[in-house]
Symmetry: C2
Subunit: 391 residues, 2 copies
């Protein structure tokens, strides 16, 4: 029934990096890949044609947001997400679980599932492993995820274990529920285990052995230091079946992509590249620049020398700076296009490096040049975004 | 020196409508034409490529905004507006006068010119007929306008006369100052006279007889009822030289375009089509719809049946409604593209009607179908925009 397959074309001999191809009913995806996030059935400020142009091969959409608005029944009535949003490439939907757990006091967890109140109108909803399969079936993405539990950070070993074990039980329920739907969708499994190496290993083995054609690693990048995240992956990857694609859920800064590939990850998604773009943070090979900074006021050159994106091919940094400072809508688009192209070009370069046998050198060179945002900057940014959202 | 010319290809036998072609150094413009407004060197939320696609042949930019930010010297340093904003078609810049007069207590008028304080940082500036010629020379638009005085609405006959007479003196000073700049730019004259038929006639004769290759009619659509505006044009047009293009400054709803053409106008500009789009108001042949209205929630059809714009060719009204309700950036673009395409298709239809000798029937059919926003709705909208701006 499913038209899904994954083939590995090359593997790095000095790391766990590999280059592969995922086939779906809506086309192929060459890995490693970065997936732009289209939370509300649109990747903020760019069109589907522009996504194609930056090299996007697959995008992600959020079940939580879409089930509430415009509603999954409505999207089903329009033939599913692809038709509704005019994107004919592969789509991955998450399960809604992560957003629901972020609601804090608005949700209540039980073995059956999770009840929550909509952040929009306070209406009551319930997600269960079973109805999430139905909702994602209606949304019609190519790759779908089962309901899981993302433990809080930090949390006790017992809490981490409890969340993981329930996630495992829910995974089995999702697999059974999934059989009720005739579709070409592919259900990935989700590995949990919080920041406990032992649990991460257990979860990778358990989920890896279930009949999921692909695997997402959840519950990372939730506040823990990056070094800890990479360390945990070192326990996870060796336990995973080699032949299935591996998706690092919600992770995707430039340095994450470069490092994550070496730790055996094939797919990445994150709002970071699009979100920081909207706040003036644009990627270059040396790190993130702030285009609103006065230093770009009269800069004739493009944002990044040699960049092949629409923005850099057609506009000076000074013009992009002007748009950003005057809060013009075109800025959000030009900034987003630049950052997405940066991420997708990087994914392509990583793939070429794996195939060419030069991944370790590529990684080391990249990380030597690229200065990531510090933990402090990341923390401040999170606070700013939270404040912006609550307004 | 100038590469400007205007030829008239057809004239209506029952009205003052005509179809012509304006030639500029950056290409030709077939009239009647609607000019999208790119206040800050960008037409809000659309790219230059999208402007081309909707059929934009010439755009307008605001001297007032650009002189303050990013500054006209900076734009000159980038080779002028065309290069700075990546638009290689014709551009028209206004003189900045209209915006300065809207500043109210922040400006002070004398025979020499007008001093004002920037709405951005309170810094003091002066505009004179002479330095406006320099500023617009630096900006490098194809068509430039001289400093004029837009009388308040309502105003006394004496105030209207005083503003008009000073506008005339300033027009002569602008013509002299203009000679100091070697460029392919074309300086239009501006007709004033407030709501006084006698003054409008005088001003049309006076400005029409000066060596301006084109004429803008200023000081209309400043609060007077539409019927009064059309009535005033009936006094202006017969006094204008037939061979020069006529620009109705700041006027441009769909019905304005249709009626204005019959009163001898060739060029129109207005922020209305782009501004109402951003607030959910989208044009159809029957009038303006509110895409945020619940009636579009599940609408499978496009915004307007048969519309050839990018939005209508690719998206359901329901999807556009979803984007508008969730305040997604892509909405602003899709709505703006639809309204601009509507305006430019309408301009093309008006031209074809004039050439085909069917303008009066086209006008009557259009106005029979199209329900314009009422004066009350227009007033409420102005209040809402004012409030939005002051936030």
């Amino acid at each position: 029934m499913t038209s899904f397959s994954f083939t590995i074309e090359a593997q790095c001999s000095e790391s766990w990096a590999r280059a592969g191809t995922i086939h779906t009913a809506h086309g192929s995806v060459q890995t490693p890949i970065f997936m732009p996030v289209g939370t509300q059935a649109t990747v903020k400020s760019v069109s589907p044609e522009e996504l194609r142009e930056v090299g996007a091969a697959i995008i992600l959409a959020n079940t939580y947001h879409l089930m509430l608005r415009p509603g999954y029944q409505l999207i089903a009535d329009f033939g599913g997400l692809h038709q509704f949003m005019h994107w004919d490439g592969p789509i991955l939907t998450d399960s809604g679980g992560f957003q629901v757990f972020s609601l804090g006091h608005l949700r209540k967890l039980s073995e059956e599932g999770v009840t929550f109140k909509s952040h929009l109108d306070g209406s009551a909803h319930m997600l269960t492993p079973e109805n999430v399969m139905q909702i994602e079936f209606e949304l019609g993405a190519d790759i779908i995820l089962p309901l899981d539990i993302c433990a809080a950070y930090p949390c006790t070993f017992d809490a981490a274990k409890e969340a993981m074990e329930r996630t495992h039980r829910w995974a089995e329920r999702a697999l059974i529920a999934r059989e009720g739907y005739q579709s070409k969708q592919t259900l990935f499994g989700i590995v949990q285990g919080a920041c406990e190496p032992e649990l991460r290993q257990q979860s990778a083995r358990f989920i890896g052995n279930l009949p999921f054609p692909g695997l997402s690693i959840g519950g990372l990048s939730v506040g823990e230091p990056k070094a800890e995240m990479w360390d945990l992956l070192k326990y996870v990857t060796p336990e995973l079946p080699k032949g299935k694609p591996r998706h690092l859920l919600g992770v995707g800064s430039p340095e994450d992509l470069v490092i994550g590939v070496g730790l055996g990850m094939d797919m990445f998604d994150c709002v970071l590249p699009t979100r920081v773009a909207r706040h003036g943070g644009l990627f270059s090979r040396f790190g993130r620049i702030n285009i609103k900074s006065a230093r770009y006021r009269a800069e004739h050159a493009a944002i990044e020398e040699g960049c092949d994106c629409y923005t850099c091919r057609n506009y000076s940094a000074a013009y992009v700076h002007h748009l950003a400072r005057t809060d013009e809508q075109l800025y959000y688009r030009l900034g987003t296009i630049h950052n997405l192209r940066f991420m997708l070009r990087l994914a392509g370069q990583l793939r070429a490096a794996v195939i060419g046998g030069t991944y370790p050198a590529f990684r080391d060179d990249f990380l030597k040049q690229y200065t990531p945002a510090s933990e402090q900057v990341r923390e401040n940014q999170r606070e700013k975004w939270k404040a912006a959202r609550s307004r």
